[in-house]
């Protein structure tokens, strides 16, 4: 008969683990609580603002300025957003334009970004290891550049009288060309303002390096034997790319689509510097709208309501994308 002796005290290892846990909890917890507070508080305040007609210029009630001259309006802001009439208040019409422009911007940026980065990543991955790093660095450098600098540079390229683009076109045409790529409201192609296309090009130029490195890493993770097997079976490069690589990259493609979409929804600085929402509101995206109403016109309640709607928009779009692009590939 084996009698199992009950341990009278915990083992050395358990005591050490417990001590470590207590140490970590006591040191890290205050900081975590501190950081959580300062992350959650502005979020909660921002959500609460959406239900008030709030301006920092007016003195409100005792609690965070709510109430008093900053009255509670409930769902009034959200109800106003559903007024689709030419007589709707200016901020409502601008909100509708903002939603349209933001969606258009994302719809242009995401496919263009993927069309450029995926083949480029494949090409870079196929060159000699010695020069791969050089190409990766080249294409990643714009990502590191400040957006304001990128915007100023592209403004120079698009300048109507002194810009590089018009100079090149002028050289071919043999005369001075003065197209205002970012400022002519009459320049529209297929219903899409040229101004927003111009900004999309600038934005994608800066952003494509980011997705490129993600795709390069994902391509490196694809087992070589799968491509070798395909080659043995007679597949050419195009077939390997379309039948092997892309299907196996689907999870990565899904990730980059979601990240690029979220990033496109958040576009602000490049548009503010290049066009500030013009010409004629053709590039006035939601975030610019929020900034103007919150900080220029101090209608923070309305701006907070638009922010909330924007959050729900991004959330919904991300959910839809996750559903559509989910794959069950495994290798």
């Amino acid at each position: 008969m084996i009698i199992k002796k009950k341990d009278s005290k915990p083992s050395k290892r358990t005591r050490r683990d417990k001590a470590e846990k207590q140490f970590v909890n006591s040191i890290i917890s205050p900081l975590v609580i501190y950081m959580a507070f300062w992350t959650l508080m502005p979020l909660i305040w921002g959500i609460a603002l959406a239900f008030f007609e709030y301006s920092a210029r007016r003195s409100g009630g005792l609690f965070l300025g709510f109430g008093g001259d900053n009255p509670f309006v409930g769902l009034a802001h959200f109800k106003n957003m559903l007024i689709f009439s030419p007589d709707a208040p200016l901020e409502v019409r601008q909100f509708h334009v903002g939603v349209k422009m933001t969606l258009l911007f994302a719809l242009l940026v995401v496919p263009l970004n993927l069309i450029l980065t995926l083949p480029l990543a494949f090409l870079i991955e196929s060159v000699l290891d010695k020069v791969k790093g050089i190409f990766r660095t080249f294409f990643f450098l714009p990502v590191l550049a400040p957006s304001v600098g990128v915007a100023i540079m592209w403004n120079f390229i698009y300048h109507p009288q002194h810009g590089l683009l018009n100079a090149i076109i002028g050289k071919f045409m043999g005369k001075l060309v003065g197209i205002n790529w970012t400022g002519d409201p009459n320049l529209v192609i297929g219903g899409i303002p040229i101004a927003i296309i111009a900004i999309v090009l600038a934005y994608v130029w800066q952003d494509l390096g980011y997705n490129l490195v993600i795709f390069i890493a994902a391509l490196q993770a694809i087992p070589q034997h799968l491509k070798d097997a395909a080659r043995i079976d007679g597949a050419n490069n195009w077939q390997i790319f379309t039948r092997i690589v892309i299907p196996l990259l689907t999870p990565t493609i899904m990730l980059t689509v979601i990240l690029t979409t979220i990033s496109a929804f958040h576009v602000f600085d490049i548009i503010q510097v290049m066009t500030d929402g013009g010409p004629a509101g053709q590039t006035k995206v939601l975030l610019l709208n929020i900034y103007d109403y919150a900080f220029r016109y101090q209608r923070m309640g309305w701006a907070a309501a638009v922010s909330l709607v924007m959050f729900l928009l991004i959330f919904s779009v991300s959910l839809v994308q996750t559903k559509l692009l989910r794959s069950e590939w495994e290798y």
Binding site: P30, R57, V177, G183, T275, D292, F295, R296, Y297, Q298
Partner: protein, 435 residues
């Protein structure tokens, strides 16, 4: 027991960290300082090198006269300044003295953030007597004064003219009797190459230029756009205003698609000599003279023609000083404000340092005017014009009316996207909606 102790310690540390962060900026300075201790007065202003040099010099002068008082000036980048005001005023952490743009003052005073000017400093009738109408207008809210102006903000009335370009084109720079004469001269200064305007004869299509020109011309045509809080521009006067502005475009003086706030902005364009005549305030000359000294030297201001009997123009109340209602040293603060704004010598010293036109009437005549003109010769045509300035009026949000409504709508009209009727109706509706 040990667990409970750890938990309580964690909560206490977290709470103290949070509360210490909530503490915010230091409380306003004490009022009656104990003997030997200085009374501190803090001033907030936006970053403008010329403005700051003026404030610093006067602060030093004041502190020499009052060794028991210390003045601290803090400045912020413009956008940050506005946001700092918005957050600090409700939190009661603002400075004692706030330098504000006149158009903002009433909205802050309605929020209960600003102290009224004591009658011992100046009364409302006295202020209306001493200062130009448009300069003091923004500081008087519901019959009370909430600050004192330092400068006359003028964005219409006279234009920058490049005398070198004028000479090359054979244009005499001695004023214009009417708009017909002006158009003839400005046309000579316009350069178009292969159908592309490479130099505007008259660049007026910046946001301040368009909005102020629109409202000024409306007044000159005999209209009143703001009556008893009701904004009206969809009238025959409004139509005439837009017609004149469109005529300047149709005559080829400026291409509003190539020249506007976003492209070839008037200040940049004028000093880069891609505009020969520019509608922008005199503050632009000291601002750009460092980088474009030749153009600055060749620049004169010339009054624009008027369509009315008098060259009236709409003007915002410019920068001035207000005192926070939460300041614990209001007496000292107002004393300093009085020293800077109401002492004619000190006020002039600040105007010269900052390159701004004076808000005080007495600075535009006699020796003081001569001193101003000696330093800034291009001020001379303005000194006679200032009397015609009319305060633009109290809007709930003047910047919204100017930059979100008037400028984009009039620009779209000038670019041929909308008609004059549509433009006037839209501006009127959108501005009324902001009330």
């Amino acid at each position: 027991m040990k667990k409970k102790f750890l938990l309580i310690t964690t909560i206490l540390i977290s709470t103290s960290l949070i509360l210490s962060a909530c503490g915010g900026a230091a409380a306003p300075s004490e009022s009656a300082a104990p003997a030997g201790k200085k009374t501190t007065v803090k001033i907030w202003t936006h970053q403008n090198t010329a403005f700051l040099s003026g404030y610093s010099a006067l602060a030093d002068k004041y502190m020499k006269l009052h060794p028991d008082i210390e003045i601290i000036i803090e400045s912020f980048d413009y956008d940050t300044f506005i946001q700092t005001l918005q957050t600090s005023l409700p939190a009661k952490t603002e400075a004692d003295i706030l330098t504000l743009f006149g158009s903002w003052v009433c909205s802050y005073s309605e929020g209960g953030y600003l102290a009224t000017v004591p009658e011992s400093v100046i009364t409302v009738p006295e202020a209306e007597e001493k200062f130009f109408n448009s300069a003091i207008g923004g500081y008087a809210c519901d019959g009370r004064l909430y600050g004192i102006p330092q400068e006359f903000n003028i964005e219409y009335g006279a234009v920058l003219v490049n005398t070198n370009l004028a000479k090359e084109a054979g244009v005499a720079v001695d004023g214009w009797a009417d708009w017909d004469e002006f158009i003839v001269d400005a046309k000579k200064l316009t350069v178009v190459q292969d159908g592309v305007m490479t130099r505007a004869g008259f660049n007026f299509t910046g946001s301040d230029g368009i909005a102020t020109m629109f409202h000024s011309l409306y007044l000159q045509y005999g209209g009143q756009y703001l009556t008893d809080g009701t904004y009206t521009v969809n009238t025959p006067e409004g139509k005439k205003t837009l017609e004149l502005m469109k005529r300047l475009v149709d005559e080829g003086l400026v291409d509003p698609i190539l020249f506007n706030d976003e492209e070839n902005w008037v200040g940049d364009s004028y000093f880069a000599e891609t505009s020969a005549i520019g509608l922008v305030g005199p503050w632009a000359v000291p601002e750009y003279s460092g980088d474009y000294p030749e153009v600055a030297d060749a620049t004169v201001y010339v009054p624009l023609p008027s369509v009315g009997a008098e060259p009236v123009f709409a003007a915002a109340s410019g920068w001035g000083m207000s005192v926070s209602v939460n300041s614990k040293v209001q007496d000292v603060a107002w004393d300093f404000v009085k020293f800077v704004t109401l002492d004619a010598d000190n006020a002039l010293e600040w105007n010269i340092a900052s390159g701004t036109l004076p808000a005080l009437k007495e600075e535009t005549t006699g020796e003081k005017a001569a001193e101003l003109v000696e330093k800034f010769p291009f001020f001379e045509p303005f000194l006679d014009l200032l009397q015609y300035g009319v305060f633009e009026g109290h809007f709930p949000d003047r910047d919204f009316v100017w930059y979100e409504v008037t400028y984009p709508r009039v620009l779209e009209f000038l670019q041929g996207i909308s008609t004059s009727d549509e433009t006037l109706e839209t501006i009127q509706t959108e501005v009324r909606g902001s009330f």
